[in-house]
Every structure is written in C-alpha cells, then in structure tokens.
C-alpha cells in the first residue's frame, strides 16, 4: 500500500477489489487537490524527463468541491495520455473555481494506466486532519 505524509497533508492507498482507492487529507481544498494529484501520480508510477519542461495554464469550474476534484484529476489523466505530468501547482482556488499554472515535464515512463476518476462514494468531509476524501479510480 502506497502512502505519503508531508506535514499536515498526505494520502494512503485503500484496498479495492478491482480498482484503486486513495484516501487523501489536507488542511484546505487547494492542498487536497494537489495532494490527490501527487498520490495519483505515485499510483501510476510516473517518471518524467526534467530536460523537457512544460508549463500549462488551467482553469476549471465545477458545481461543487467534489466535482472540482474529479475534473482536476481527470484533466491530469488526459494530460498524462498526452505524455505530460506536473509537479508544481500554482493554483488559486475560489469556491468551486480553480485557475493557475501547472509546471511539469515530458513523461518518459509510466507503469499503470487509469481509465477515469470516479464519483463513487465521493464526499469531501471535514475531519481532524482538515479536509478528507477517498477517491476511487477505474483502472
């Protein structure tokens, strides 16, 4: 089971019969999105080539925080198929809108593939560790 904890945020892989699930926690929505992205890249075994950097502008709007999370991660799934991955997220999150710059590089290795990020049992909840959510990926 893969996991990571950095200060007040982190993720932990949860057992799922067929797919993948990731429990993520962070103090606020912006940090939750970024931590979920980092966890997803770890599950996928993404390797990038820093000599081929890329920067992209991203703007998303959703009907609620959960939808914003799904849209953000699905955007990264699409970019991965275009062979780009990101490690720096300069984002501004206002309510259920997101805008900012993503910095990353060309993907040169990836061990797994995600079909989609799902809404299955998806609910961002306030807990002892700030915001917490479990995301299920279709693989």
């Amino acid at each position: 089971m893969r996991s990571s904890r950095t200060g007040d945020r982190g993720y932990l892989e949860i057992a799922h019969t067929a797919d993948w699930a990731l429990h993520v926690w962070a103090p606020d929505l912006k940090a939750l999105l970024i931590t979920a992205a980092e966890g997803m890249y770890t599950l996928l075994g993404v390797v990038t080539d820093p000599s081929q950097p890329v920067q992209q502008h991203l703007a998303l709007e959703a009907i609620d925080a959960e939808s914003l999370l799904v849209a953000f991660l699905n955007e990264l799934v699409f970019q991965l198929e275009e062979r780009w991955a990101f490690w720096q997220f300069d984002l501004e999150v206002k309510g259920t809108q997101l805008e900012g710059e993503l910095t990353g590089a060309r993907v040169i290795g990836q061990s797994k593939e995600i079909k989609a990020v799902t809404y299955h049992d998806l609910a961002i909840q306030k807990g002892e560790r700030g915001l917490e959510v479990t995301v299920v990926f279709d693989v």
């Binding site: 089971m1 892989e13 057992a15 799922h16 019969t17 067929a18 797919d19 993948w20 075994g45 959703a62 009907i63 959960e66 939808s67 799904v70 849209a71 699905n74 699409f78 198929e81 062979r83 990836q110 061990s111 797994k112 593939e113 079909k115 989609a116 990020v117 799902t118 809404y119 299955h120 049992d121 998806l122 299920v136 279709d138 693989v139």
Partner: protein, 483 residues
C-alpha cells in the same frame, strides 16, 4: 449491513434481496451464485452496490447480479439493470468507462501439434502487430472527419477498407454497428484521445490469447461455430480505449447537474443518470453508441492485425492458419431491447456492466447459423485458467434480460495479488504449465495473476446450473499477450 440472512434462497444458484430490504429500492436484487460464490461476494461492496443500483428511477423486473460479480464503482461489475424506455433513466456509471469493452473469439482448423514449433515466433508477432500497454498508439491516426465516420459505421468501416469480412460482421453483436451513434455528441477531447488509438489493446486486464479447444460439450453448437477439439483459437479482450473513457467521464460530470434538474435522488453520485427521453439522456445514448462502435471497430482491427501476424508466421508452414470469427460480444454497454416482464413485452434500456448478452435460440438479431443454437457467450478465464464458450438460453431471456456472466471476476485486490506472487515468478509458473506470456509490465502481470480471480469453472457451473447459459466448449490458454 447485507448478510447471507438478508437473502431469500430461490434455488441452489439463485438468491434474492427483496425490495423491502431498503426503503429506497424500487426493485429486488436477484443474484445468480452458488452459496460459496455468494458468501464470496459479501466480502466486498458488490451486493451493496447492486442494492444502490436498485434505486434508479424507471427500473423494471429486478437488478440481476452474475456469479462473477465484484466491487466496482456505482454499479457492481457483473450487474444488469433494465429501465423502461423511454421514461426510465440511462446511467453512464451503469455501463462503465470502458464502453463496449468486450471479447472476440476467432477459431482455426489448425491442430496445436502442427503450430507448436512456431509458438515463440507467433507470440512475438502478435505482440508486434497488436500494440499494447500503457499509452499504446496504433498505426493509423484518423482525421476528425474519418473518426466521425468510423464512429457511425463501427466494424463496417473496416469492411470498406478490406479489413473485415462479411462473416466477421454477421458474427458480431449488432453486426458491429449500433444505430443512432452521433459523433456530434462527443467532446473534442474524446476525439483527440480516440484518433490514434484504434487497433490497440491497451493495458490492465486486456489481452490477446491463443488457446486450444480442449473439450467440446455441445457438438452441434460447436459445429455451428467451427470449434474443433485440439485446434487453435484466438481471443481478443479490449474496448473503446481513451475515446470511451473520455465520453463516460464527460457525461458522468455533465449529468451531475441533470439529476438535480430532474429531481432524482441517488445513494451514490457515480450512479448519476438522466431520463432516456431527456436531451441529456439522448445525448449520452448517442455518444455511448459512438464509443460502442469505436470498440467494435477496434476489436475488428485487432483481429485483422492478428490475422496478419498468423500469416507472417505460419503461411507456407502449416496447411491452414486462417482465423474465422466465432463471435464478438460487448460486456459494458446499454442497449434498447424488448423483454417479457410479468407477462408483458416491454421496451427497455438494458445496462450490462461486466455482463454479457446471452440471447437464446430464436431471439432477434442472431445470425442464421446461431438462430437455433443460441448466441455464443464468451467467458474469458484468467491467463492460467480455462476460458469458456457458452450459448444463451430461453431461460436467460426470461430471467436475466438475456444476459450471463462475462469472466471469472476478481476476488483479490491488485495489491493483494502483487503480495501473493511476483510477475517474474508467475511468468515462470505459467511457462512450466505450457503457457507462453508477453506482458507490458511485470507488476501489472502480478496484479492479473490467476489467483486474483474466482474459479471460472465454478462461475460457469453456476450460470449453467441456473439455466441462463449452456456449455459449448472449454478452451485452454497457450499464448498470452497482456497489455
């Protein structure tokens, strides 16, 4: 909490959760399973997911669960649900992200002994001709106009270009093309993803498998399919690739707002849906059909490429290497069909997610050669285990919306599978059993280990014991290419 006591036992192979089990259920849940498989299914959230699915507006009859069921997202994998057309709903999550993921079976009259000296060359050629693995792209990159045409025509697109025979199309569910596909309902992003992925297998549990017909149980049906004991077969398992994934993603997102507009309350947001006769429901139906046609075409192109691989290796060396089509079926799809429910003929939208259509003898839409024996049902195993060819029955038409199981069904999580065996060790074990293997990644291979799946023979005994399918032949794997 759902327990064994929550079920009413109907027979050795059928169990039911009544509609009264939970206040929001609109229909009962009927599970086809032996007691052991049912107990197994209670080990994860599959049955709870089936109960959630039983809350969808417009459901008729019952939600049906197959013995290969396992936990999915929203719907369980191995679930069938039918909603009244046109006022019932359609749910993208009830069909899945890999729209028209399915299986194609081809067969030969080539005896295994004659081909065996060329097995290493054959698996290498199949791997080379049929791109697989993470991020795989095919040899063709279509323009948007060509892709739109391909989505309207499905496997017929390949026939026009000399890559499919009339028999291939005749022996494909719906002739390899669903009417009503509308590429204008597909996002630009989905098209971007779809343009370069035709003719590719993908990763995960998708595979190409050369097998041998080990045992025939129904000589008449096997004869109609051209399945001969001791001869080689080829199975192809894949779907609509990034094109279908993106279409489902787009509509699951878009319909989040629609459920509020239509006042639909759901226990899980992944079950998001819209009335079939609403603009949103019609748009998804048309886009889903485009993805289904893409998948039919994808498997057709892979079959063409596999034939080229067979020719490259075996032409001039064996008497007859020709691969003829047995059948091609979808196991993640939504179809408008007419079924008898409580004595009435009712037009419904059948959601099959990890379930195979299993039409019985005399059902509409079967090619002439299968009209009397029933539709072939293709049940792949799990690399090291058997695969099965079954046929649908009159009983399946009455009791499971003409549906049956789609495979063995997972029982171990991917991490648990990896903990149980390493990819390299598994490859050695399979080779010791006479199964050659090529895989994109050893970790991915371990996740798909046979031990991660239920016993496919037990699944097949269950659907046949319940009467919703009948055995035709058992296939044993010889060469496996995994994405």
């Amino acid at each position: 909490m759902i327990q064994l006591q929550s079920f009413t036992r109907i027979s050795d192979y059928e169990w039911e959760i009544p509609r009264t089990f939970r206040q929001d259920m609109r229909v009962p849940v009927r599970v086809f399973a032996s007691r052991r498989l049912l107990e197994n299914a209670l080990g994860d959230k599959s049955i709870e997911q089936a109960v959630n699915a039983a809350t969808l507006p417009g459901l008729v009859g019952r939600v049906v669960v197959m013995p290969d069921v396992h936990q999915g997202y929203g719907f369980p994998i191995g679930g069938v649900a039918a909603t009244r057309y046109p006022e019932g709903v359609i749910s993208p999550g009830g069909i899945g992200y890999d729209i028209n993921c399915g299986v194609r079976l081809l067969a030969t009259t080539l005896e295994v002994g004659e081909a065996e000296p060329y097995f290493k060359d054959l698996i290498r050629a199949l791997d080379e001709y049929c791109p697989s693995g993470v991020g795989a792209e095919g040899g063709m990159r279509l323009s948007e106009a060509e892709l739109d045409q391909a989505c309207r025509e499905g496997a017929r697109w390949a026939q026009k270009r000399g890559m499919a025979s009339e028999q291939d199309l005749r022996r494909t569910e719906e002739g390899g093309c669903l009417d009503g596909a509308d590429p204008t309902k597909v996002s630009k992003r989905a098209k971007e993803r779809g343009r370069s992925q035709l003719g590719t297998l993908g990763a995960g549990n998708h595979f190409l498998e050369v097998g041998i017909v080990e045992q025939v149980f129904d000589a008449h049906a096997a004869g109609a399919m051209g399945l001969l004991e001791g001869c080689l077969t080829l199975s192809i398992h894949c779907g609509s690739r990034g094109f279908g994934h993106q279409i489902c993603t787009d509509y699951v997102q878009e319909l989040q707002g629609a459920v509020n507009r239509y006042g639909i309350r759901l226990p899980d947001r992944e079950l998001v849906c819209a009335p079939l006769d609403s603009p949103e429901g019609q748009a998804y139906l048309a886009a889903m059909r485009a993805a289904a046609n893409y998948a039919f075409l994808n498997r057709q192109l892979l079959a063409h490429q596999a034939r080229l691989a067979f020719e490259a290796v075996l032409a001039g060396k064996v008497a007859n290497w020709h691969l003829h089509q047995v059948y091609d079926i979808a196991h993640n799809i939504g179809k408008i069909e007419t079924h008898e429910i409580d004595g009435q003929r009712v037009k419904v939208c059948v959601h099959r997610k990890g379930a195979t259509r299993a039409f019985g003898p005399g059902a509409p839409g079967l090619p002439e050669e299968y009209a009397r024996v029933g539709q072939p049902v293709l049940v792949p195993g799990s690399m090291g285990t058997a695969s099965w060819v079954l046929v649908g029955t009159e009983e399946s038409m009455m009791r499971s919306f003409g549906s049956s199981c789609h495979g063995a069904g997972r029982v171990l999580s991917r991490n648990a599978a990896k903990r149980s065996v390493r990819g390299e060790q598994l490859q050695r074990e399979l080779e010791a059993d006479g199964i050659l293997l090529r895989a994109g990644s050893m970790a991915g291979l371990a996740e798909e280990a046979p031990s991660a799946y239920k016993d496919v023979d037990e699944v097949v005994e269950t659907v046949c014991g319940a009467g919703i399918a009948r055995k035709v032949a058992r296939l044993r794997p010889l060469l496996v290419v995994k994405g």
